[in-house]
């Protein structure tokens, strides 16, 4: 499986989250259709963390510049997020536990 890539998106929302969950669902469904998409995981409390996994940096770049995604990003900056940070990472090692 390794090496593959992870995009760590951490964010803090504004108080005006109208329309956010619908857009988040749309974007997750759209991301799943992209070439090189491997998976996504999300959780939110005070901070939101979404990690998406990709086969290559090219897949990440294509998703970043997808037109519908760009529209969502703009809306995010204008309305939903007071802060966000994106980290593009190479997964170098992994291990798991299952009961």
């Amino acid at each position: 499986m390794e090496p593959y890539y992870a995009v760590i998106f951490t964010s803090v929302q504004t108080e005006n989250t109208e329309g956010y969950s619908e857009m988040a669902e749309l974007m997750e469904n759209l991301a799943k259709k992209q070439t090189g998409y491997l998976g996504i995981e999300s959780a939110r409390n005070e901070v939101g963390i979404t990690v998406s996994y990709w086969q290559s940096l090219e897949g990440i770049k294509n998703w970043k510049t997808n037109l519908d995604h760009l529209t969502a990003q703009k809306k995010g900056r204008e309305q939903w997020y007071s802060y966000y940070k994106v980290r593009v990472c190479k997964v170098e090692r992994e291990y798991e536990f299952e009961r």
Copy 2:
């Protein structure tokens, strides 16, 4: 800042989370004292995501084998987690937005 390292820890809890939050707080405070520690972010809904940031792979390895942390990991496997996955990643690029 880059390159630095991120450890993505994703987990699913069991129904028996007694003692978990106290241990999580202890471990977070202990992690902060480790050489090369840069920061930590956590959120949990159905899945929990904790990302810790480190200056080097050596710092990550030292933290992984810290004796108190090993005790916590064992307890995690025995009681708190039904599943977890650890990904050690190199942060290659980052950008952020602030309102």
